[in-house]
Amino acid sequence: MIDTQLLISGVLFGLSLGSIFFLMAVGLSLVFGLMRVISLDQLLYYSLGGYVTYSISVTTGNFWLGALGGMAAGAIAGLAAERLVYLRIYERDITFTMITSFGILIGGVGVIKYFWGLVPLPVAVPIDVQIDVLGPEIPVYRLIIVGLSGLVYGGIWMFLNRTIVGKAMRAAIENVEHVEGLGINIYRLFAIAFTIAGGLSGLAGGLYAPLIMVDPQMGLDVLAFVFMIVIIGGLGSIKGTLVSSFLVGQVVSLGTLVYAPMAQMAPFAIMLLILLVKPTGLYGSPLLKR
């Protein structure tokens, strides 16, 4: 049996991984729920966030400023993509918006390669203190990531349940025509949702950058996991995304302890099982059809 020390550090590692996944996937899920667009370009804002974090933290020496800059860059890029491209193709079939977003993703990777080059770049870890959690030493930085993603979940919950814009957004997820009929400008809602999603993806990239190297393909590396999370949780459900990202995070992290090569495969097996039982994912509603 695995010893307790390893298990505890594995669980905490999985929590931090799940937090990153959650920040990435929540944007995808929100955008799908509201606009029925599978926005693969969120993965671009993730890499962009990582790179902007790198540049700012190298020039100013402050990582947190860099992460904030990455978040802003992701948000601006998301807003720009929404205004320039998506606004013209909302009425189209879902497959076409998906292909367009893949085009943005691939083109954006080309832009990143043009500006930052092909070589993976390291970002310094802002806090390398380790603390004792029930035995094993855990890097504080990972705990901060978990805390931040908890804050983000709380923030999104507050936004969707307590503000008028958020309430309109939840109503639009249920039925967009009725919301439009109430005189609410749904295109403004769409722009807000895209900005939030892009910003969160950028933040995820910025926060994850010190733990990996930033390289142009980093978005494509997490692609499979983000999709599994969104599928398992159910497209368009924030709560489902939260549950499934921590599930996948734990499976990857604890799977590595048991048998490393299988860790990448285990989430897929879980996804197949869940889809067999419930083809719309854990929390996806069967009514989501337009």
Binding site: F32, I38, V85, R88, I89, R92, I94, T95, F96, M98, I99, T100, F102, G103, I104, L105, I106, G107, G108, V109, G110, V111, K113, Y114, Q217, L220, D221, L223, A224, F227, M228, V230, I231, L235, P261, M262, Q264, M265, F268, M271, L272, L275, L276, P279, T280, G281, K289
Partner: protein, 328 residues
């Protein structure tokens, strides 16, 4: 006469392709023929059944590895190897098909993408003992020469690939004309109506899935024989959009779309990569522009114009009774 009418489009297209062999360098011509077979499966799924699949490289890799395992470990006959690749493709389509075709369109796309990445990890890490991980399997020297069409020589390989592509396209044209093809189109457009007519959406989609993906696996098997090596790279995430891009570029659901798309895509890639390092930038934003301009693609735009031009030239002298039936 009607036999010729059915075949002439195909014959013309492949005559032009054969002519291309004279003017174009051989690797380029080979690449185009292989890629058009590859894109055909995706074209059928997207254009006829309405399923977008970002995971075609998964089936490509399965076909390629089916061939590679045979040629590396067991035998040396490339034809048997290709057959192994097709069988592997059929097996995987049957295994995952029943599960996948139940899903909604958006989930279908994502699940296929996940499958592609899983096959990548499977070949790169989990089965590294027999696939040699990132190094790949090299078996170019162990491909035996066969008396009639020697597949180990690129020029004869082209003839073989050309014939296979012709057969595949004729097969898909036949499907388009059959009742099954009409059912596929109907399940794309209105599945409820098809249910009322007494057909099962599930079985039509499953059969279409099991037709389309072994085609992709066949392309993978032929790639393996042509290149003489296989590595997990062919199913990496960066390559997943390629068949979809080619399909869209050529024109979704049109018969000749894959050929036109492969020609333009591979030509662009070759040309652009000669001048600028990152072709991804141009391909990506080019794709966005194509999507914004309309979704018909190159062949989808040209075809009506050509048809109009031809019908003006051909149909006018004919009496109305002969020219009455419109023919694609």
């Amino acid at each position: 006469m009607s036999v010729l009418r059915w075949w002439w489009g195909l014959l013309l297209a492949f005559a032009i392709l054969a002519l291309g062999r004279v003017f174009l360098p051989l690797p380029f011509a080979n690449e185009i023929v292989l890629f058009s077979i590859y894109a055909m499966g995706c074209n059928f799924l997207l254009g006829r059944v309405g399923f977008i699949s970002f995971g075609q490289p998964a089936y490509l890799a399965v076909g390629a590895y089916g061939t590679a395992f045979y040629l590396f470990y067991f035998g040396s006959n490339p034809y048997v190897g290709i057959l192994c690749g097709i069988v592997a493709g059929i097996v995987i389509s049957l295994a995952v098909g029943a599960l996948f075709v139940r899903l909604r369109k958006d989930y279908f796309a994502l699940v296929n993408l996940a499958l592609a990445v899983i096959v990548y990890y499977l070949m790169q890490k989990v089965l590294a003992g027999i696939t040699y991980g990132d190094n790949g399997l090299w078996f170019l020297t162990s491909i035996a020469s066969t008396p009639v069409l020697d597949l180990s020589r690129p020029d004869q390989f082209f003839i073989f690939a050309f014939l296979v592509a012709f057969a595949i396209f004729a097969f898909y044209k036949y499907i388009d004309d059959s009742i099954f093809g009409a059912c596929c189109l109907a399940t794309k457009i209105n599945e409820d109506k098809l249910t009322f007519l007494g057909y099962s959406n599930f079985s039509i989609r499953l059969v279409a899935f099991v037709i389309a993906n072994p085609t992709t696996a066949l392309a993978g098997a032929m790639y393996a024989v042509y290149l003489g090596f296989v590595s997990p790279e062919i199913t990496s995430a960066a390559r997943t959009p390629e068949p979809v891009i080619v399909t869209i570029l050529g024109g979704v659901g049109t018969l000749y779309g894959p050929i036109v798309g492969s020609l333009v895509y591979i030509g662009m890639k070759d040309l652009i990569s000669k001048f600028v390092g990152n072709w991804e930038l141009i391909i990506g934003f080019g794709l966005v522009l194509i999507m914004l301009a309309g979704e018909k693609g190159i062949w989808g735009t040209i075809e009506p114009l050509l048809k109009k031009a031809f019908s003006c030239a051909l149909r006018r002298p004919l009496p109305r009774t002969l020219g009455g039936r419109s023919d694609d």
